[in-house]
Symmetry: C2
């Protein structure tokens, strides 16, 4: 793998003009409750409402002109689709976003608002991949995978860079793991900037393929149960898993109850809106899955896109 | 009246160690929608979840030692009670908070958590005042009224000072008006720091006594209809009205629908939690009650305490 800190630093320069440098927030009340010192990197305030534009923008602006002109494509039911559509618009190139026919209207509208072309498919992983391959064959567009692409991983790592630039003495950095794009970028960045830092990922127990794979030392596909953390339902990627094995210290799992309670606590205490996936690392602290007593812990709050008509505690 | 900018500057020094300097956030999307440039002063991130600790803390720390030792008292069903309890705890003096017997449990718990004594009364304005006078007669405590007290007004004005320190070229500053404590502090501070600024208050049409009084040039008591903006149900105070007449440029009113829609838009777009009262100025912009085209508009988001089980759009 060639994902290294130089690639992440280059990404930081490449995307700087197109993304927010998001704030790092703290809460005395959550510190008191946890026994540690928590620093929340607020990617819920990022463009598109999630960290995803970091990676998508880096990938789009890494393409040479001739390749870029043919456009980009991906399959995504979530924030990566919007992020890629936005990045393509910023570069002035076509974007083809394959989306399941049952996608939420708000997500369709977001992608459309950036002028991307939506290609509908059946709501299965296989149908998504087939439809995406078909688009690429017909248009010559470049696939920008939402987490297996190295430029995407490098871009996602810039959130951790900003966090460590602001708070240099972190003992631990935490993020959730789904496909592993954010985790790879975070781990490589954090270990380069602060070699003694612990990189700890958190995952819903109901979608614990990354944790099981990490323990087994080989990629395991698990049967997924439902998780409210919709951003983390995906399996960890193969290239991602290799990087995770090398750089990540621990992967912990959390209950659905803890995700919902943690999300609500952050809403009530910090007055910020985060989506269920973003609450997963904090849920691990609440469930005492890791010991953070006296430690300085950076947590990447990955996004804030929720349906306000269907909150998990309703 | 002796409320002047010197009092507000003195308040700023007095309370600096006890309150947050809250961030000023912006949103390109809301700017595009409104045609102006909006700067949101986030008092929803303030201690106690609202701007109220600014005034309460200033009032408590303005007392001489002998007076302070006898304690402070107020009647409040909302954030001022918690703010006063907290300020008294910081100074190490007793606080007596008169609260209606039907107060929300979360508010009772907040006041209790600061070690204040709660005195229950019937949920009418008269009962509150009688119970408070009784406490004061028995204990010698000093009344810290939630908006008629000048030290409270001076403290509330520090939010506008911080906002104008950060963004010096505001054309307009907006806040909601209930009793008028925040509005008085805001108006005096803003006109001192930037004499050509327009100070515009916003009020629910269903509780429009301040707007009517302002137009009539004399204090008018109106029959209140229900408003979702629970922080603004109170009548504007007499001392407040005098200051408002002198310093405020305009008071506009907004519909209940606009308050709810505006609140939801800010949640969805900015990913921050604000209470209905805090959405009232933005609602006035959405309803085109003022012309902000091309203007730089500071908006004080007054608080973020909401019951997540009973959101207005549920």
């Amino acid at each position: 793998m060639s994902l290294d800190f130089a690639a992440i630093r280059a990404a930081q320069e490449r995307i700087r003009a197109y993304i927010h440098r998001t704030p790092v927030l703290t809460s005395e009340r959550l510190d008191d409750a946890s026994g540690g010192s928590l620093l929340f990197k607020c990617e819920n305030f990022q463009k598109v409402g999630a960290f995803k534009p970091r990676g998508a923008t880096n990938a789009v602006f890494s393409l040479d002109d001739a390749t870029a002109r043919r456009g980009v494509a991906t399959h995504s039911s979530g924030n990566h689709g919007s992020a890629l559509a936005r990045a393509a618009k910023l570069r002035g190139i076509p974007a083809h976003i394959v989306m399941p026919s049952n996608s939420a209207k708000v997500k369709l509208r977001a992608v459309e608002s950036y002028g991307a072309r939506i290609v509908f498919c059946e709501p299965t992983q296989e149908a998504r991949e087939v439809a995406c391959a078909d688009v690429i064959a017909k248009t010559g567009a470049t696939l920008i995978h939402s987490f297996e692409n190295e430029d995407v991983m490098a871009g996602q790592g810039t959130a951790a860079v900003e966090l460590l630039e602001e708070v240099s003495d972190l003992d631990v950095v935490m993020c959730p793991v789904g496909g592993g794009g954010l985790l790879c970028g975070t781990a490589v960045a954090a270990k380069a900037m602060r070699p003694k830092i612990k990189v700890i990922a958190a995952e819903p127990a109901n979608a614990d393929d990354a944790a099981r794979s990490f323990r087994a030392g080989r990629l395991i596909r698990t049967e997924k149960k439902f998780t409210i953390a919709d951003g983390l339902r995906t399996n960890v990627g193969e290239p991602n898993f290799q990087i995770i094995q090398r750089y990540v210290d621990e992967i912990v799992t959390v209950s659905e109850e803890a995700i919902i309670a943690g999300m609500r606590t952050i809403w009530e205490t910090m007055k910020i809106i985060i989506e269920p996936s973003a609450a997963v690392p904090y849920a691990a602290i609440v469930e005492r899955k890791i010991d953070i007593a006296g430690k300085c812990v950076g947590i990447i709050l990955t996004g804030g896109n929720v349906d306000l008509d269907a909150l998990p505690w309703m």
